[in-house]
């Protein structure tokens, strides 16, 4: 008798292979296009743009990483090791910046820090009328915006690590006469290193592949350059060369991070876990911690959100809230729903096979699907575009192309919830159903699907919301006249029509909040 697994495996296998192909083919084609390019194009790019772009990208990623470590680790430390009134509130508020897409934060900061903007006027009150502050359109301005937007990654992971850390290591250190500060430095921080590294890895990947903020802040990175090449030139050779460089850079970085992480693994082999005790703060401590927390939350979420609300309520913004605007909402929702549905359908065979039949082939397919991780939006768009022009130009300018790009781009996000959902069901359950006389199909319908439903829903919602915020691929591939909320924000913001961009931006932020809640709730409970 063939088992359920065997019966399902081969067709699913084909589906999984097809998905891997769907993702790898465009990528492969871009690589071929880049490698077969005229060497003159390569040497010209090396002589002109590439050194600057590489330098800009790497230094930005480095500076943002450093700043996010400072912000993320210190805040995580404060909320896990100290007790002060309102702690739980701050604990949750610190993740809010993740609900703000980088292009929204960047556009708010072009106003806040801009020439003659409120921050500068405030500074001039104190430092004299000629004083200038940091321009948002500079290296440090971009660093600040990106760091404020991404530090919650480091915060979240460090916080979970701190909460699950066995406090006895620290106690041993204290008993041996090491001071509090040195214990932090020599015991706690090294123990947290893997988590901090994982958080920083997320931040760096985010920075390297970001388009929204760097385009609005006019900071030249590889990702931005790919976009500019695609829109400014009539052939895509230079864009593919830069794309390949970008993917190589991201991969190099991922490999290094894995390698470091493998070298520093910590296990607790014996002993009992005890949660750390929180130090109760004096009123002075409470006041200074609260001030610090308020400052961080205000600049990363509070003030921008407040500005978005006031701008949305301004008469200029109210005037654009017509049927056209509702059309943009509808377009966003349609695209996002299509991409999320397609993503779940495509991701299911992959995740199912990888958990039920972990052969080299199925694992390989799954790994291929995660390639979207290192593919910034413009590159995913370019990959889909050049392949489409080659084999099916009929699809150019249709929403289908855009949906394919989304699936490639966001499948990893979906798989991350699909995979554990499937792994958590023991195959025994399905087998039991079969021995009790249920058919293959009935087993799926009555046992497997209900069990993975939650993972399914979460994957769908995550992909829906990610797609809704997506900017560069949408800009490059959208059908005629098919503007989405994200596009409107970017178009208005890039001409500094702050009020006109606000309603769409506010809506995106509000809709992102539930996704954030979903993402975080797992880690939150686990910790």
């Amino acid at each position: 008798m063939t088992t359920l697994r065997q019966q399902l495996a081969s067709p699913l296998q084909l589906a999984a292979l097809a998905t891997a192909g769907l993702i790898l083919l465009p990528l492969g084609y871009v690589t071929i296009l880049a490698l077969s390019a005229d060497p003159a194009v390569w040497s010209r790019l090396w002589a002109t743009r590439i050194p600057e772009l590489l330098f800009n990208t790497i230094t930005l990623a480095g500076a943002v990483a450093a700043l996010t470590v400072i912000l993320g680790v210190s805040t995580a430390w404060l909320v896990t090791r100290f007790d002060f009134p309102g702690r739980r509130l701050w604990e949750a508020a610190l993740i809010l910046p993740l609900a703000m897409p980088t292009y929204v934060l960047a556009y708010v900061y072009t106003y806040l820090l801009g020439f003659g903007g409120p921050a500068e006027r405030l500074w001039q009150l104190w430092a004299g009328p000629q004083a200038r502050i940091l321009s948002p359109h500079s290296f440090w301005g971009t660093t600040l915006v990106m760091a404020l937007d991404t530090f919650p990654f480091v915060y979240l992971l460090t916080r979970s690590a701190l909460l699950s850390l066995n406090v006895s290591f620290e106690e041993v250190s204290r008993v041996c006469g090491v001071s509090r500060l040195m214990t932090l430095w020599r015991v706690t921080l090294p123990l947290m290193r893997p988590s901090i590294a994982a958080g920083v890895a997320l931040v760096i990947l985010y920075v390297v592949s970001d388009f929204g903020a760097v385009s609005l802040l006019r900071y030249q990175t590889l990702t931005y350059a790919v976009f500019q090449q695609m829109t400014g030139r009539s052939d895509n050779t230079a864009a593919s060369i830069l794309s390949v460089l970008l993917v190589v850079l991201a991969l190099l970085f991922l490999v290094t991070e894995r390698w470091f992480r493998q070298r520093s693994r910590f296990y607790q082999t014996a002993g009992r876990y005890r949660p750390p005790q929180r130090v109760r703060c004096s009123w002075l401590g409470t006041a200074s911690i609260t001030a610090l927390m308020s400052l961080i939350v205000a600049v990363s979420f509070g003030i921008p959100a407040y500005l978005l609300v006031t701008w949305s309520l301004s008469p200029e913004a109210q005037a654009i809230l017509d049927s056209r605007f509702y059309g943009f909402i509808w377009n966003s929702a349609l695209l996002a729903a299509a991409a999320a549905t397609a993503g779940v359908i495509v991701g299911l065979p992959l995740a199912y096979l990888a958990s039920r039949r972990p052969t080299a082939l199925t694992i390989g397919c799954l790994q291929a699907a995660y390639a979207g991780y290192v593919l910034p939006g413009p590159v995913a768009a370019l990959a889909v575009l050049v392949l489409c022009l080659k084999i099916a130009p009929v699809l150019y300018g249709t929403a289908l192309l855009l949906v394919i790009a989304y699936v490639i781009h966001f499948l990893p996000a979906g798989l991350q919830s699909l995979e554990p959902a499937l792994q958590q069901i023991s195959p025994n359950l399905e087998e039991a159903a079969r021995t009790l006389g249920l058919g293959v199909r009935e087993t799926w319908r009555r046992v497997t699907l209900p069990l993975i439903r939650n993972g399914f829903v979460v994957a769908w919602v995550l992909m829906f919301l990610q797609t809704m915020k997506e900017l560069p691929a949408t800009l490059l591939l959208r059908p005629v006249g098919f503007d989405t909320l994200a596009i409107r924000v970017w178009l208005e913001a890039s001409e500094e029509y702050f009020q006109l961009a606000a309603p769409a931006a506010l809506l995106i932020v509000l809709l992102s909040l539930p996704a954030l809640f979903l993402l975080v709730s797992k880690d939150w409970r686990a910790a």
């Binding site: 067709p11 084909l14 600057e52 006019r218 400014g232 300018g397 929403a399 098919f482």
Partner: protein, 355 residues
């Protein structure tokens, strides 16, 4: 392969049973996405690919719709992006017309066989030949000049007279320029190359790059804004952005310097906004109506008033706020040459490493 062949039938059944509901949903969703596109093929509707900022062109089209009842669907995007898109879409393009802010791009589109030659008496009567393609497959509808805008509190107009002066070291960190992807920068550089040669142009671009530093903008309105606020002293933009800014903020310390007017200088760099009907348009009659509307005196007047551009119809007067068209001269490089000049210009721009 043989492994899978005998499994194809069960596969089909599997797909049918398990994936069909999902696929149907997907199709439904996709269908509703594509539905609005299909409706663009309806009779009284024109699809225009527009390389101009939406707010600069939409009111004119609205007036056209009000007059004729013909709807106009706008896809606003970058000019080069749109030409690329037209090329890729070929015969299947939904676009009836291509409108861009650069004659070079239109001429390139004509060369690629994307536009339809027109034989219309109205065009020949209204628009002088130097502002349209030889076969009328594109027609200029308004003219603009690439000028220097300066902050009157920071610069005296006698401090410079030519675009090339902006490369002098004295303007370090004092100028703002458009990014190298903008078609009118490319067109401007092409004209300078044609007038001064590659060596001189390269020196100019290097100076411009060093002087501008990070003040490289995506949008001309931002350049004017930066000059008005005093963030920089000078900028290079199309003239109408200055007047549009002054129309909303009359007290802004802005002025226009018409460059290269001295004896023997090359003259101001001109470009046009132009429009052409796509080769595969199925609404040619309506599209012709739109072109007629745009080049007729009333339409030209709208451009002049709304956009502060120079009308191309010889009998329509420019907005009185603008520098009198008769008081300065334009560079002698024909607009149609912008197409052939484009590629070497891009190479030069890339060599210099403009952003």
């Amino acid at each position: 392969m043989t492994i899978y062949l005998d499994q194809l039938c069960p596969l089909a059944a599997q797909i049918h049973r398990r994936l069909m509901p999902g696929l149907l949903t997907l199709l439904l969703v996709l269908g509703s996405i594509l539905a609005p596109l299909a409706s663009s093929f309806a009779a009284d509707k024109l699809v225009v690919y527009s390389g101009r900022a939406e707010r600069l062109i939409k009111p004119v089209f609205d007036a056209f719709t009000a007059k004729t009842g013909i709807q106009v669907d706008l896809l606003s995007s970058g000019t080069t992006e749109l030409v690329n898109r037209l090329k890729a879409e070929g015969d299947r393009t939904p676009a009836d017309l291509l409108l861009t802010n650069d004659a070079g791009s239109l001429e390139l589109a004509r060369g690629a066989g994307l536009l339809r030659p027109l034989n219309m008496r109205e065009i020949e009567r209204a628009i002088p030949p130097q502002f349209r393609a030889a076969d009328n497959s594109w027609v200029g509808i308004s003219g603009r000049f690439w000028i220097i805008v300066y902050n009157t509190t920071m610069v005296k107009p006698d401090q410079l007279s030519s675009l090339l002066d902006l490369a002098q070291p004295q303007w370090k960190d004092k100028i703002a320029i458009p990014n190298s992807g903008s078609e009118y920068l490319q067109a401007g550089v092409s004209v300078i190359r044609a007038s001064h040669g590659d060596e001189r142009t390269k020196k100019f671009l290097e100076g411009l790059r060093d002087n501008a530093g990070s003040q490289v903008y995506q949008k001309s309105s931002q350049i004017v804004d930066a000059v008005a606020k005093g963030q920089v002293a000078l900028g290079i933009v199309n003239h109408y952005y200055v007047y549009r800014h002054l129309a909303t903020q009359p007290t802004a310390p802005l002025a226009v310097l018409m460059p290269d007017q001295k004896d023997g200088a090359m003259g101001a760099i001109m470009n046009v906004t132009g429009i052409g009907i796509t080769k595969s348009s199925t609404h040619v009659e309506n599209a012709k109506l739109l072109i007629e509307f745009l080049i007729a005196q009333a339409g030209q007047k709208m451009f002049a008033d709304l956009d502060k551009e120079y009308p191309l119809h010889p009998e329509v007067k420019a907005n009185p706020a603008l520098v009198d068209r008769k008081s300065f001269r334009a560079a002698l490089v024909p607009l149609t040459r912008l197409a052939e000049l484009r590629e070497p210009t891009l190479t030069l721009i890339e060599q210099v490493g403009l952003r």
